[in-house]
């Protein structure tokens, strides 16, 4: 039987092809033109029926239930335009002649970012930077990479050729990425070499292996791996984001999270990840149009799971 292809499938198929096609064009255009093409292409994507856009609207409904359906759709279109603009900008930066020399100029507070990284590495145990699908996390890694070596965890886009430019760009900028769900020894080694490790923990862990932490008031399964790795190594654990500010970007450098003390047990790991998820929620509330989340962030909680309730108190000071 020949499968029927409906408008929904066509929209989804196009949504799969558009980012790669737009990136290929964007890499060859002047940056402002590329960004304009990117945002308009993504707006077109937002008008087509597809599951990514539908999920974005659903996520916005969960996050901002007080808003009307019409304003959430408008917000989702704004987020789609942001996504397109940032994808185009990323493709453009990945293709530029000397990104390490040119990238710092795009960040209004690059000096602060640089100083922060310097301080975080003073302890000699590396640092874990926790971001999110907000602003432009890829460009943030690239900016950090101009200061210190960066190892991240990311999707292996080799198998998804339309986003292959991301993998190629990472390699070009010297960013090391290990595929999700691969042995994490490289992350440990990076910290032992006093380098940076980046995580985007706002993704669904496999088989719900995480804690159900409140995100916009609803439990969302969240990996505890970064906090557990910080507990193991004693490295710095810091939430950090990169938000678009007009034609440039601002690094949102949040205070470091107290690394979990082994004596706290699992409560310390929960406390640390709760602190991170609270910062992400705050930043999304400030700039909801820069929230790029188009997957199911809130899934059904299994019956035997228990949400982590607020507050998880920090360990009592010793002595």
């Amino acid at each position: 039987m020949i499968p029927r292809m409906g408008l929904r499938d066509a929209g989804h198929g196009l949504a799969n092809v558009l980012p790669g096609a737009a990136a290929a064009v964007a890499a060859r255009l002047p940056l402002p033109v590329a960004e304009s093409v990117g945002s308009r292409t993504a707006l077109l994507f937002g008008m087509l029926p597809n599951r990514f856009f539908r999920r974005a609207v659903e996520n916005l409904a969960r996050a901002f239930p007080e808003q009307s359906a019409a304003s959430r759709v408008a917000l989702a279109r704004g987020a789609a335009a942001h996504y397109g603009r940032e994808t185009a900008a990323l493709a453009n930066w990945f293709a530029c002649a000397d990104p390490h020399r040119e990238l710092p100029a795009i960040c209004v507070n690059y000096a602060e970012l640089r100083a922060t990284i310097g301080r975080d590495l003073e302890g000699g145990r590396g640092a874990i930077y926790l971001g999110g699908h907000f602003g432009n996390p890829q460009l943030l890694s690239a900016l950090c990479g101009t200061v210190a070596p960066v190892t991240g965890v990311g999707t292996d886009y080799h198998r998804r050729s339309h986003l292959g430019f991301v993998t190629e760009g990472r390699q070009r900028l010297g960013l090391r990425y290990i595929p999700e769900n691969s042995p994490p020894l490289d992350l440990l080694r990076a910290l032992q070499r006093n380098e940076l490790v980046t995580f985007l923990p706002d993704v669904q862990p496999r088989r719900n292996r995480g804690l159900w932490l409140p995100f916009f008031g609803t439990p969302a399964c969240t990996t505890t791996f970064p906090a557990a790795l910080a507990r193991l190594t004693g490295c710095v654990l810091r939430p950090i984001y990169l938000a678009r500010e007009g034609g440039r970007y601002q690094a949102i450098v949040r205070d470091p999270i107290a690394a979990p003390d082994p004596a706290e047990g699992d409560a310390g790991v929960a406390r640390a990840m709760l602190a991170w998820t609270a910062t992400l929620e705050e930043e999304v509330r400030r700039r909801p149009e820069q929230w790029l989340w188009m997957a199911r962030r809130w899934r059904a909680m299994p019956e035997d799971a228990r949400p982590v309730s607020l507050p998880v108190t920090p360990a009592s000071p010793a002595g």
């Binding site: 042995p183 994490p184 020894l185 490289d186 292996r209 791996f225 557990a228 790795l229 193991l232 190594t233």
Partner: protein
């Protein structure tokens, strides 16, 4: 104290949450005692305790499935290191 006894002590002290492990051939992965984070804890402990360097390729179920396989892996690694 044998490598096997040391590994068993570490597993029971740091990783086993639902009662102590007594069977050194127990599949710790199937029993959900070892996940990716526990594996890193084991790597750090093995390197500090036995002075061997764990390689990426060594992080396999064949080496880390049970207390017995870990003890065997540690013995092999120590022998290989002293042969160098």
């Amino acid at each position: 104290m044998s490598e096997s006894a040391q590994v068993l002590d570490f597993v029971n002290a740091r990783l086993a949450r639902n009662g102590p492990v007594r069977d050194t051939s127990l599949d710790l992965m199937s029993a959900r005692i070892i996940d990716s984070m526990a594996m890193l804890e084991l790597v750090v402990w093995i390197e500090q305790t036995f002075g061997v360097r764990v390689q990426n390729d060594d992080l396999s179920a064949a080496n880390f499935r049970s207390v017995d396989t870990m003890a065997a892996y540690i013995r092999r690694s120590m022998a290989a290191q002293s042969a160098r």
